[in-house]
């Protein structure tokens, strides 16, 4: 897929207002994003026309049940690019989703700023790191976590704190571009560990191809 072509999305959320909001954000995107299907059940992603969408936007909390980690796993195993879009704002959920192979993890309070970009990045196999996820990765103390440099950890945490790459860049004396590359590198390191998934592999492959990371670094 080219990096400027139109992107099709299936949105799974049980709240109509949220669905409406998402469609409005996508409509404002300079690069066309089409919501081909939307609904309150994961079935939308498995049936026509949702089954052909480039990206799945998945609310983790559907109905009364617990977080839909099982649905996420099945979608990832089917090779789908999933953007998790959740009310839950805690480290554990974010890390679990990433480990299962989600393209990215977004909290609902971050939607306005980050959903469009996150969707496009997922469609292109590019890494995307919203602040809530950065906070989770920056404080991750699980034994199987990838080795991060002090600078990488700092960038993650400060991005989480300030939600402004300009502020982070200013504080650390870097350019915004460099800040971005630190965040991308961390995302690739995470894609490279834990449970293997095709989405993770394509993320790494794309990163190597784009020169974001060196093969030797991994």
């Amino acid at each position: 897929m080219s990096d400027s072509g139109p992107v099709s999305v299936v949105v799974i959320d049980d709240h109509p207002a949220i669905l409406a909001g998402i469609e409005a954000w996508y409509a404002a995107s300079p690069r066309p994003i089409t919501v081909v299907a939307a609904g309150d059940s994961v079935r939308e992603a498995w049936t026509e026309p949702g089954s052909t969408a480039d990206v799945v936007v998945l609310d983790l909390q559907l109905g009364q049940g617990g977080p839909a980690f099982g649905s996420l796993r099945r979608l990832v195993d089917a090779g789908r690019q999933v953007v998790v879009y959740s009310m839950r704002d805690d480290d554990k959920t974010a890390l679990n989703c990433l480990d299962l192979g989600a393209a990215t993890f977004l909290t609902k309070s971050e939607g306005r700023q980050h959903l469009v970009e996150a969707t496009l990045a997922a469609a292109d196999d590019r890494p995307y790191m919203p602040p809530a996820l950065a906070g989770a990765l920056g404080t991750n103390a699980r034994p199987d976590r990838p080795q991060l440099s002090v600078r990488e950890e700092n960038v993650l945490i400060e991005w989480f704190q300030s939600e402004s790459k300009e502020l982070v860049a200013q504080r650390l004396g870097l350019s915004v571009r460099t800040v971005n590359s630190y965040l991308d590198r961390v995302r690739i390191k995470y894609a490279n560990v834990g449970r293997p998934a095709r989405t993770k592999a394509s993320l790494v492959a794309r990163a190597v191809q784009d020169g974001l990371v060196d093969v030797d670094d991994l």
Binding site: S109, G135, T139, E158, F160, Q161, S162, L167, Q170, R171
Partner: protein, 776 residues
């Protein structure tokens, strides 16, 4: 602790009294006996010698009642001379009176004097010892002047008496000291607890006062704009006064009715019309009265703030032993269960204050149904006679008295055992060996000697291990001692009874004393009666004794058993008079010390707290109070907002929550949200324990930055292994950054970094600690 403890002090005093009284009695009785039995011609000279001796005893008795200006050396040496003159005069009277009775009398007086001097002069052992030597010399002088050849035996006997007396004192004193030591230890522990409780109560009261005064005022200023502020200067000055007042540790009483009559009804538009029905007078201690008054004041301001009405009813009355105060309004009410834990108006100002002084406060409210706040104070002091202690105190004192009694008893038993053993194996053994041919049969006396030794051994077995003698052992031993008394009486020729050959007559009493020490005196007296009675019966069975024999027996009986009985009496005094008195004295001293400590600590705490405010709140209140700072000035309002947020954080410090840091951050956020700021809060990582001083530094930038924010802000708390980072980003904080700098970070451990970009400002405080203990 300074000086001797209360048990030791009272022991010394009791012994001194006992010594002087015993000596004076013996001197009076014996000298009267001596003068009566003397030749008519010698009487004036004998009287001239013995009357001054009696007078000296009288002086000594007088000083017991009215102690001399204590340490004056001159007075002490005068007393010493008076005591010395008693023995010298008695010694000199021996040649004047002449005869065996005189010798016996002088020996008895000087013997008792030497014993009692060791107790009278217990705290000046050298003076006591010197008096002992003087007494022995006087006794010897009297013998020589009477024409006897110098004899070492009486001297040796006197030396033994003095040494035993001193040793007995030392043993009992050691136990008294042990009692004082353990009493001091437990008292210190109790004192620490009481001081800590008082400090906590003062801290709670301080926070409640801060909440009701400065915090409320500053919050109002920070929120308001363009309203009537005419009431503000007076209120700010009142707040300052309330904050600078040293916490009262008062015990007086006040009329609650009079206090409630001046509950402020609020100012300006916040005025509440109070309908009052107050029974007058309601005199209660000032602590609860102030707690109720301050609580009512806060509740009235709550009516105007939250209830949505401008009327309330205040009632106060006495119900049995309780004083009840009730404030009701017909306002919109609320659900008490749903009040967030950080809201302190009810928890701190109303309920907490009342609990701190031992009362209670309850709030009844339902949404839409008005609110009723009720304070209740139970008056225990009026029920109990003055001086009655609270139960825990009384228990502590009873335990203390028992401890002192136990130690004194143990010491006395050890001393009696020492006297028994020593007398048995010196004087008595010497007599037993010397008079073997007099006893009929001799083996019975020897067996009796062994029997007493066995009793001593069994007693020592228990006492030396610090245990009481078990009752069965006690009664068996006592039976054995009585058997010795019988054997002694029946295996001696009646004319030798109680004489030099009767080694057991004076000894048996000491054994009975240590066996019966813990029982009432009448047991011991009864035993001595039986013991003397046996001897008397044996003597009477042998035919009527001559007058001289009868007098000799009488003097023996009185000087041995009478003395032992007096020691028994002394012991009773020690256990039932001295021990409780020592307990009370110790408790009073302890209470005084506790009060002093509380006073000291509370004043220091108060100074510390006030000093903390002088950098921040005090200048604001002073400025507002004197009109230098105007509430119309936006900068002033911002500063007030910052201080209000800082205070909310301070109040949150005492909340019992697992994540104290987050709780304090939330307290600051609530103040900002109250001002209409949109704040998002996000937390990452696992929380850990952070010391309160570090928390202050970490959260302060949040309070300051949020106080200067009017639009939106983001607050985050990030826990990484070994560090915690608190950050706040304000969208518009940079525009109001002018006048007031951040509070200077006094704690170097906390690093504060600030980044400004356009209107937004980002402040992060972080604290590194390698061993960050995780909260579960």
């Amino acid at each position: 602790m300074d000086g001797p403890g209360s048990s030791e002090r009272l022991l010394n005093r009791t012994l001194e009294r006992y010594g002087v009284w015993l000596r004076s009695t013996v001197v009076a009785l014996c000298s009267a006996l001596g003068v009566v039995s003397a030749d008519r011609a010698d009487m004036p000279l004998a009287t001239a010698l013995l009357a001054p001796a009696l007078l000296a005893c009288g002086v000594r008795l007088y000083t017991l009642r009215r102690p001399l200006p204590s340490a004056a050396l001159g007075m002490v040496s005068l007393l010493w001379l008076a005591d010395g003159s008693v023995v010298v005069l008695t010694g000199l009277s021996q040649p004047v009176l002449g005869g065996d009775v005189a010798e016996m009398m002088v020996e008895a007086i000087i013997g008792i004097c030497i014993i009692t001097f060791q107790h009278e002069w217990a705290t000046r052992p050298w003076a006591g010892a010197a008096l002992g030597v003087l007494g022995a010399a006087a006794c010897e002088l009297g013998d020589i002047l009477s024409g006897h050849s110098p004899d070492a035996m009486p001297l040796l006997r006197l030396a033994v008496l003095g040494a035993l007396s001193r040793a007995a004192y030392l043993i009992v004193r050691a136990r008294a000291r042990a009692a004082d030591r353990s009493a001091a230890l437990s008292a210190a522990a109790r004192r620490e607890a009481e001081v800590a409780a008082a400090r906590r109560a003062a801290e709670r009261e301080y926070l409640a006062t801060l909440h009701d005064t400065a915090s409320a005022t500053l919050l109002m200023v920070s929120q308001g704009d363009g309203r009537d502020w005419s009431w503000l200067p007076a209120r700010a000055r009142q707040d300052l006064e309330a904050l600078s007042a040293v916490p009262a540790f008062g015990t007086g009483s006040v009329d609650l009715a009079a206090l409630l009559a001046c509950v402020p009804a609020g100012e300006g538009p916040a005025r509440v019309r109070l309908t009052t029905t107050i029974d007058s007078p309601l005199v209660i201690p000032s602590g609860p009265a102030l707690a109720i008054f301050n609580g009512v004041r806060e509740a009235v301001s709550n009516v105007s703030r939250h209830a949505g009405v401008r009327e309330a009813e205040l009632r106060a009355w006495r119900a049995d032993d309780d004083v009840v105060v009730e404030l009701t309004d017909a306002g919109r009410g609320f659900d008490p269960e749903s009040v967030p834990p950080r809201r302190r108006g009810i928890k701190g100002s109303i309920i907490g204050r009342m609990q701190a002084v031992g009362g209670s406060a309850a709030i009844t409210s339902l949404p839409g149904n008005g609110t009723r706040v009720q304070w209740r104070w139970h008056a225990p002091a009026q029920q109990l006679p003055a001086g009655t202690l609270q139960p825990p105190r009384a228990r502590a004192r009873t335990a203390l008295v028992q401890l002192i009694r136990k130690q004194l008893l143990h010491g006395a038993q050890l001393a009696a055992l020492l006297i028994s053993l020593f007398s048995q194996f010196t004087l008595s053994l010497h007599r037993l060996v010397s008079y073997q041919d007099v006893y009929r049969p001799a083996w019975a006396q020897t067996a009796a000697f062994g029997c007493l030794a066995a009793v001593a051994g069994i007693g020592a077995f228990y006492l030396l291990r610090g245990k009481q003698i078990p009752p069965p052992v006690r009664w068996c031993s006592l039976g054995a001692v009585l058997a010795v008394s019988v054997i002694g009486a029946f295996t001696l020729p009646p004319d030798r009874l109680a004489g030099a050959a009767d080694w057991s007559f004076g000894l048996v009493g000491w054994y009975a004393l240590f066996l019966l020490a813990d029982l009432r005196l009448r047991w011991f007296a009864a035993f001595l009666g039986v013991h003397v009675g046996i001897t008397v019966i044996v003597v009477l069975l042998a035919g009527a004794p001559t007058t001289a024999e009868a007098i000799g027996l009488g003097i023996r009986a009185i000087s041995d058993c009478g003395f032992q009985l007096s020691v028994g009496f002394l012991l009773t005094r020690l256990l039932h008079g001295t021990a409780p008195a020592a307990g009370i004295a110790a408790e009073q001293e302890e209470e005084l010390r506790t009060r002093e400590r509380i006073q000291e600590d509370m004043q220091r705490d108060h100074k510390d707290r006030y000093r903390a405010l002088t950098a921040t709140t005090v200048p604001l209140l002073v400025g507002l109070g004197h009109g230098v700072l105007s509430p119309h000035d936006e900068e002033v309002r911002l500063r007030c907002g910052v201080e209000a947020a800082r205070m909310r954080r301070l109040f949150a410090e005492s909340d019992a929550v697992s994540d104290a840091l987050l709780n304090e951050v939330r307290a600051c956020i609530e103040v900002a949200e109250h001002q209409g700021v949109t704040v998002s809060l996000a937390v990452r990582g696992r929380p850990a324990e952070v010391p309160v001083s570090v928390r202050r530094e970490l959260v302060d930038p949040v309070a300051v930055t949020l106080g200067r924010t009017r639009s939106t802000a983001r607050v985050t708390v990030v826990w990484t292994p070994g560090a915690v980072r608190v950050s706040v980003v304000s969208e518009d904080g940079a525009t109001r950054q002018t006048a007031e700098a951040d509070k200077q970070a006094t704690d170097v451990q906390v690093t504060v970094v600030r980044t400004t970009r356009g209107a937004s400002v980002w402040v992060e405080a972080s604290w590194r600690q390698p061993a960050l203990a995780r909260v579960a």
